[in-house]
Structures are given as C-alpha cells and as structure tokens.
Symmetry: C2
Subunit: 597 residues, 2 copies
C-alpha cells in the first residue's frame, strides 16, 4: 500500500553498492568536495565526497574511483553536506494544505522525511481519510511516514466525530506499508491510570515492533510521567519547560522540542540541552503544527534550527536533532538519518551552517529541490467525493438556530476565557440579563456567543456557550478547523452574522469565515475534510493573511486568532471547553449546564 | 524455542506497570537511594530509587509511594545503580566452559546480557549445536541473545567442517525466538567484491529486520570499508588501530572495542574516543574471547571498563559503552540498556565507579548475584550424545600415521612461523634433508611437524606441514580447538608423542593434550564438541593453568600458546595455514604443496 520510503531494499542492492564503492560499477551521482556534517561523531569533515547508486549511499570519502561514464558529478566545494532533515512529529492538516502542497513547501527547505500523525482528517473521515492523505503525500518525493492516529475521538463520550479508532484498527494499520508507529497518545490520563483500552492501543503498536509517540502535556515529572513512559511511549513533544524536557530525557524518553507556528516553546525548552552538560542524543527538534505563512516566509526545520542556533545551540548538534536522533527515536537509523554507506541517499547541501541555507536536496538519490523549488511538478491528486463533502448538518441553519432561551430574567452563565497564543483557557461565572427570554452576546463585556454544530452524521447535536477574550465588537467567525472533532464552530456578537458564516461554510464544504453586518468579510474554503485546500502555499499564505486581516477588521488583535478559536472544543485541555454535546469541565471531565446554579 | 530474554512482554504488563508507578499497586522490589548512572543523559543523579514489577522498571525517582506490603526494599544508599552490562560480541566456546558455567562466571561481574556467536560449536555440530548451546544457556538467568553464525565453514573449499550454513539456514534461524541478528561476517572479501551468496547471508538478516554484525580485520578504511558497510553490516570488533575504529564510527558503523584474553586491543583503540572530541554513541566495549582465568581472576566487562578507565575514559561513558550504546547497536534500546521506565529490570549495583566493583545484579527484576556469586545454583544441562561424541576420525592413529615421505634426499618445504600473542603468521621456505625417505621435525631449528586430521565425518583427510616459533625441544601437543573447523590438530617434535596426544584426545572426546617421551604430561578434556567442558570456572582455571605449565615444561614460553596453536588452521588469516586438506596460501587462496619447487 502506497510508496515505500526507500527506493530499494538494501539487501536487494547491497552487492551492487559494494561494487560501486570498489569502483567496479560507476556511481549514478557523486557529490564532490563538500564538508560533511558527520552526525555520527558530531564532527565536520572537510573535502568529503558522497557516491550514490540505486537511491542509496555507496561510499563516503574520496569517490574519485566511483566516477565513470554516465556518473553525474556535482561540485559541492565550499558547501556543507548533511543528512536530509526529519520532522519527528507533524500534522500536515495544520498547514491547511494538501499533503502534496505541504511537501512542495517543505522539501526545498531540506526536509526529506516527516513522521506525520493525520489525526485531524481521521477524526472527520476515519482511516479512509488517512489512506487518502497518504495517497496525496505519495505524489511527492517527501518521505511521509505514518504514525497512526491513536486518539480518535480525542475525548470519548464528550464529542461526536466522524470516526473512531480502536485497538483492532491499530492492529490492522500497523501492517500498512508506510506505518512506522502510533500517533501522539494524548490520553495520558488513561495511560497513567492503567486504562486497559488505552494501553491496548499502545500495546498493539509495541506488539508490531513499532514506535508509540506521546503527548504528556502537564508539568509533572514524577509518578505520572513514569507511569506514562512505562507504557512504552517513546517520545513527547509537549514540554513547555526546560526541566520537563530534561526530565523526559533522563527517563529515556525522546524530548521533541517544539517550535510550531503558534507554539513557540523552543526558546524555553532548548535550555534543557544548552544549559546542562548532557548527552543530547534524546533531543529532537519538531514543528507539530506549521501554517502556510511560516512555511513560505520562514521555512521548516531549517527555520527551527536557526532559532535553536540563536538560542545558543551549536549547528552540528542542531543537525543531529533533526537527523540521527530522530531516526534513532524511530529505530530507523539503519535506513535514515546519517550520511553513511548503505543508508538512503537523502541529502541536503547547505551554503553555510550559520544560516542553515539550503542549496540542494536529494531524496533517494534524486535531486528533488534546488534554489528553493522542487525540480519537478507534482502530479495532481484528487480526493474522492466523500472527502470533499463533509458538511453533514441536520436541518437548516438560520439566525433562530443560534437563539439561547432562558426561563430566568437574571441568571449566571459559565464562560470560557481564551488568551492569545496559549492553549489553556479559564472558566468564569458571569451574571447575565435575559432579553425577551433570550441570552445574548454582550460585546461591551467582551462576552461572545459560541455554538458548535455536529457536522459528520446529521445528528442534530448543537452545543451552546459563551466565550471571552476575542475583543470583537460586531461580527462573527466560523471554522470547521475545530479540534479534534472538527465540528462546525461559530463565535459571534449576533445571530444574523453567525448564520451568515455558518451557511457560508456549509456551502463551500468547510473552512473559515468572517462576517459583519450580514455580509461576509473573508472566506477561506478548506474543502478537503473541511480542513485543507488543494491550493499552493503562496495562495494559502495570502488567504490566511486575508483571514487575519478580517479578524482585525472586526476588532480582534490576537496573533493567529483562528488557532485560539480552534481550540475551544478541545476537551482534553483545561479548563472549560464547548463541544457539540455542550460545555465540558475539563478538570473533572463532567458536562456543565450553561446556566450556573 | 528457548527462553525469551524478557520475563514479560511490555504490552502485556504496561497497564499494571503504570499502576505501580502511580502507587496503586505495590512494587515487587524498590532499590532505594543509590546514585543513578544515567546513560541517557550521561549524568550521575543522586538519591534515586528504582521500582520494579513483573521483571520491568515501573518508576525511577522517588519511589516512596510504590512500597507496600510485600515490597522488598533494598537499601542502596552510598552505592551506584547502572543498567546491566551487555557484551556485544562473544564466543562462549572460547571460555572452554558450558554456557551455563560461563554465565555463572560472568553474571556476578555485572553482565546481564550477551550477544553470542556460537560459530565454534556450529562448525562441529551445525545448527543442532547452536540449539543445544542455547538450551545450555537457558538454564542461567543471563540473557543469551543469539547472533547466528554466518561463516560456517569460515573458508569454504579449503577445509572440512561438521556443517555448513547457507542463506536458507539464515532465513530459517532469523525466526528463532532468541535470534537478534547475524554473527560476525568474516568473509569481508566476499562482501567487498559483491559475492551474491555472501550478500544473501547478510541480506536474509536485513530482510528479517535484524542486525548483521561484522568482522573487517584489515587496516583499510577507504573503498573496502565503505563497500563492506554498504552491505548493511552494522558493527565490527576487529579494529586494532584507533584510526580504524574512528573511521568506522564516522561511517556509521558501531566500533566494538575489544579486550579479549588474548587480544589486548583496547589500549590502542580506546584512543579513538579519548583523544578525539567525538560523540561516542557508536563505541561499544566487548570481549570477543575470554578464557577461564581471565573471567575468574579479572572479571568480564567490569574488567574491560577498569582497563578503559586506566586508559583515560570517564566511567559514565564507559558504562554507556556496555549498555545503551550496545542496545542501540542492536536496536533493542526499547527493552535493554538503560534504567528507565518500561525497560527490563536488568540492574547492577556498584560499590564505586573507580573500581567498577559490582555488589548486586538483577536480571528481569530478580536478584541473581551478590558478593561475587549467583544467588541460585543452576539446573544441570546434559548435552545430547551426538554433542559429546564428535571425534570421528577414519582408521587408527599410530606413529606411522604422522610420517611424511619424500622422494628427494634434499628438498625445500613451506613452513609457517607463528608469533606469541599475534594472530598473523609468516610463510617461509626452508631447506630440509630427508631421513630414510622421511621429512622430520628439526627442533634444533625450531621446526616442528604439524598435522590436521579431519574429525567430523571420517573422511580420512589429513593435512601435513611444518611450523616454527613454539620453541619446543621434545614433545607434542594436540588440540581439537583448532579454528574454525576444529579438526584434530597435532604439533610435535616426534611421531610417537604426536600419536600419544592424538589418541588421548580421540579417547576423551576432544580437548587439549601435551606429551613427552611417550607419556601424557597434561590432558584437558573438552568433551562437548571437543570445545567445551561442563566443569565450573574454578576447575577450568586450574586445568588451563596446568596446560600452560605443561607447555612450559616442554619448552614453550609463549603466553597462552594453545591460542596461537589453535589459529594454525584458520585459513582466513594471513599468510600460510594448514587445514585437513593441506597447506593454504592465504594471500592468494590457493593450496600449496608441502615441498616447495
């Protein structure tokens, strides 16, 4: 199923590779005279050639004798050659782009492999969605290695998703070709408390001798973290404090140090290795979530490494953290992650290390990018009809749909207070006065109405609540990017604008929308599962900028406000969340009525 | 087949382990207050507890809450706790002891796992012999992890062995329970030159996702070493120069730094990491071959680490080199090699790091050794009849059998010159005068007669030659430890004594013998495959000392002369060797006549 992430199996070509190394058969490509970033010994080795045949490295050293008729010789004098960069944990859907377009954006920045966890599309379309995004990825040279979503739904019993994934699904998918492990096990409470089903999901992964990736997002590094790691989960990208990242490494867990578009953890967590005299083999740099404007404007792992250098990390160790360390985390270092004989010829040529400026990129021995662009156009990929028709909402949505009725004249409601750039929110109780028996948004107190519509199976479920912190005076926003169930989330000051944005998304198949005074201000269609577009990164960057401008126009000055909004339904984060089933107290895991006692 | 090297599968017990870490279920054992040798981060962490349940580590840190009724609490204050030591490459047969007795000798020194390559017994008894030695090992707590012999016979076409191992055997054995990889691929010329069958033997290993171990014994680190590594071989223990070990690490090959009883390479090769500022994750310390007197008198990996410390290595890095580095080499670091949650509770408690003095040893959570002794006696193991009747020599052996006839009165013969403590020998051409039409030993010129009898299948093949360098004036020695085919090798000054030692070994089922003036001076029976005894290490140490004394008595002052003698038939070493088929020129791989032109 799908493409393999190696062009050839080593044991099928090793005899030929040996002959190439001996000069008996000419190499296909020889890259000459670069300084090798040796990630095995953490050294720079000047004037090193690399000979390639059949997608793999045959020789590293002096390759003069490997050059024959037909050998392509690349002069790399004055440059640096390193293993292709690996992102150990990413959700492609966060880029709002198709997997192919994502690859087109990141490969020219030196990324040759990603460990992707497509749990967004899986929540909408199930394992079919996972298959389709892998097919989408397969048209690009990028090695898309799949970690199967482990938590679909994220918080069972508190939300409605388009699919569920259980232990039997994990057992089956572990046999798929490109599966290398399990996606982030977010249900750390289940693991920590010994829940059998949650352990079985990790267990099916271990039984298949694959790697379970983690998500342990609380600042507790004693019994809870031990209980989590004892389950066999091998890595975690959720540390936000240096001491937590260090505690994980000390407990044999790969600490994936994150610098996402919206989560700027690196400045803090990199101190785990820059301020301690430690072996850093358990440290990995990852992105988790990257938006189009980050990828287009700043880059991918090259950008994250530049950040790391600015925080005091040395460049060779930085490169180890996106190559051999990541490959060892996934126990794939016999295939990937170093420029050594027999490994896949996934190579990056850099102009310099200070700026991590990428000149050329090879994957499986093929030159796939130079001067910031792919060398070949990608074949188109069309998602099946089901994937682009995912707005299944019961009945019509009108302004009346948004009305919240009450029997009291004066009442108290639970509200959620969001903060820009933070994932956590806060629960409050606010006094509210009914208007004609209805509870309304109160922009004067920055209290907006929030509504979540189940959109997968026309169940008709709708959750109602109030949210504070966006600062919007007049208007409404809607999004089908609404973690992790990705139901239709609408926030606004008035029912009319809320109906406008909701219906705009229902009509276009999902995405994001902003309206004011009964008219759309901006619309970003994301027709693939309501999460992604098939448009290229340049267009998406502009579209996202237009969306941010629309938010600003209606009064919100938060950075990436749609990200903050998208977390409103994510019931595995503290303190209060709103799903299609209602308000969830995420400290006690109980539903709360909208009106407080 | 055989015991697994874990007591439990992690996914079967992980839910319970998590509960133990949380204090919901009491730990079976808590080791309290030691300083942890953290091999993940290369740090010492004071006052660290380790909680154990079901053979695995549940928690590392403060384990107060894990102690309940029935928990065994071990006070380890003032001591150091480290992962159990792993020997990445050993031949148990070199100890001349059964695998059980070998384990009894090494476990109290902190060794909890070995990667064994039983290619000696395999040459005699084939894969049956491998199964039996694994059964023998299974009665001890030591984790005997099997790397299947790759080169049986060592030099096909030049010697007769009791068995052959081909690619189909490798394919089959890779499915055996305790198989973790392929034994040392000594046929590096075959690999380097792209020989299909040799690559297939490595290839079947890679196809099974297991680790192929190596043997690249020449001081060439350019195209040949690249060609060898490109085959997928992952480690090599044959470096004798620091620059070779470093070159291997730079090419992504684990450099196994050897300190065997007869091969004292460490003083030189450790400089690869002590004199270069390199990441040492690719360095591993191993023994390869250890004799009873080394194990009894000096120790095992603890001894090798003491040596390494005396050469300037720091103790934490030394411990990394027998724990996590080795586990990562075999891609088994999710099971072994660190004191972290979920891993096997293979633990060593040390009184101090300067002397690496081992106080207690746990394997799979069980206390298996303390104060230098196993805590429990081993069950007996009896090898099958076929394993202890391996002397199958055609016809009777009499003094007449050793006669070498010539048609010339004056002639020239090829001789092998051996040197104590070295594996290589030298070829010479010496003038010789016939006595009654016979060519005889000439002790005045230190030229002895050497004869090799095929002993596996009564083929009647006998090879004749002359050897220099032992310094023996009167007497004869015989051995069935005669690498790698382990035929019956006899060396002596006169045919009578040669017949005495030969018949002594035929009678006792193999071993080593020394005779003078028609009488046995010493006899060391090794009835198991003619290689090993079932006697314990104390007895074996005395017996080997008696054998060395006998050699000295007849005039040989070489250290461990029987080791040097045992290499006479090993036709993969330069320059001239003698097998049961005759003299082999090992630079050209051609048979040579005894008499030179």
């Amino acid at each position: 199923m799908y493409h393999h992430f190696t062009k050839t199996k080593l044991h099928e070509v090793s005899a030929t590779l040996s002959k190439v190394a001996m000069g008996v058969i000419p190499a296909e490509t020889v890259i000459r005279g670069a300084t090798l970033v040796n990630v095995c010994t953490c050294e720079l080795l000047e004037n090193t050639d690399v000979a390639v045949w059949g997608g793999r490295i045959a020789l590293v050293g002096d390759a003069s004798h490997c050059i024959g008729e037909g050998t392509e010789v690349v002069d790399a004098a004055g440059k640096f050659i390193a293993p292709g960069f690996l992102d150990g944990h990413i959700h492609v859907e966060s880029s709002m782009m198709s997997a192919g377009e994502y690859a087109r954006a990141v490969v020219p920045h030196g990324t040759t492999g990603i460990y992707m966890d497509p749990h967004e599309i899986c929540n909408v379309l199930g394992l079919d969605g996972v298959k389709w995004i892998m097919e989408d990825a397969a048209r690009s040279p990028l090695k898309a290695m799949l970690t199967v979503p482990s938590c679909v739904p994220a918080v069972p019993g508190f939300e409605d998703t388009g699919a569920e994934v259980g232990p039997a699904d994990i057992r089956e998918t572990m046999q798929w070709d490109n599966v290398v492990g399990l996606g982030e096990m977010m249900n750390f409470p289940g693991i920590v408390n010994g829940d059998a089903r949650t352990h079985a999901i990790v267990g099916e992964t271990l039984a298949a001798n694959k790697v379970a990736t983690g998500h342990y997002s609380i600042p507790e590094t004693a019994q809870g973290l031990n209980a989590y790691i004892a389950s066999g989960v091998r890595c975690c990208h959720e540390s936000t404090r240096a001491e937590d990242a260090l505690a994980k490494m000390r407990l044999g867990m790969y600490a994936m140090l994150r610098e996402g578009s919206a989560w700027h953890d690196l400045v803090e967590v990199i101190r785990s290795v820059t301020e301690h005299e430690v072996d850093s083999r358990f440290a990995v740099l990852i992105s988790d979530d990257a938006h189009p404007h980050t990828l287009a404007g700043q880059g991918h792992l090259d950008h994250i490494m530049r950040k790391a250098l600015s925080y005091g990390l040395d460049p060779i160790r930085a490169i180890q953290m996106v190559t051999i360390n990541c490959a060892q985390c996934f126990r794939m270092d016999h295939e990937l992650g170093s420029v050594t004989p027999g490994k896949c010829a996934d190579l990056v040529l850099l102009d310099n290390l200070e700026e991590m400026k990428v000149a050329k990129v090879w994957i499986n021995g093929d030159l796939v990018a130079e001067n910031g662009k792919l060398t070949e156009e990608l074949a188109p990929y069309t998602y099946p009809e089901r994937a682009v028709h995912t707005m299944h909402i019961a009945g019509e949505v009108t302004p009346e749909t948004f009305v919240i009725r009450t029997e009291k004249a004066e009442t108290k409601v639970h509200t959620m207070e969001v903060m820009g750039g933070k994932v956590n929110n806060f629960m409050h109780v606010r006094e509210m006065t009914a208007v004609d028996g209805k509870l309304c948004a109160d922009p004067s107190r920055d209290i907006l109405k929030a509504v979540v519509f189940e959109r997968h199976n026309e169940t008709g479920k709708v959750g109602y609540g109030f949210v504070e912190g966006f600062g919007i005076k007049n208007g409404a926003m809607a999004s089908t990017v609404a973690h992790d169930a990705h139901n239709l989330l609408v926030v606004g000051t008035n029912d009319e604008d809320m109906a406008v944005v909701a219906n705009a998304l229902i009509e276009c198949g999902g995405g994001m929308a902003v309206a004011r005074d009964g008219k759309l201000v901006a619309l970003l269609p994301l027709p693939i599962a309501g999460l992604m577009s098939d448009r290229p990164v340049e267009e998406m960057t502009e579209a996202v900028a237009a969306m941010e401008a629309a938010w600003a126009e209606i009064g919100c000055t938060m950075p990436s406000p749609f990200m903050t909004m998208a977390l409103i339904p994510l019931a595995c984060l503290p303190e209060l969340r709103l799903t299609d089933r209602g308000l969830v107290d995420c400290t006690t895991f109980r539903f709360l009525p909208l009106e407080a006692e």
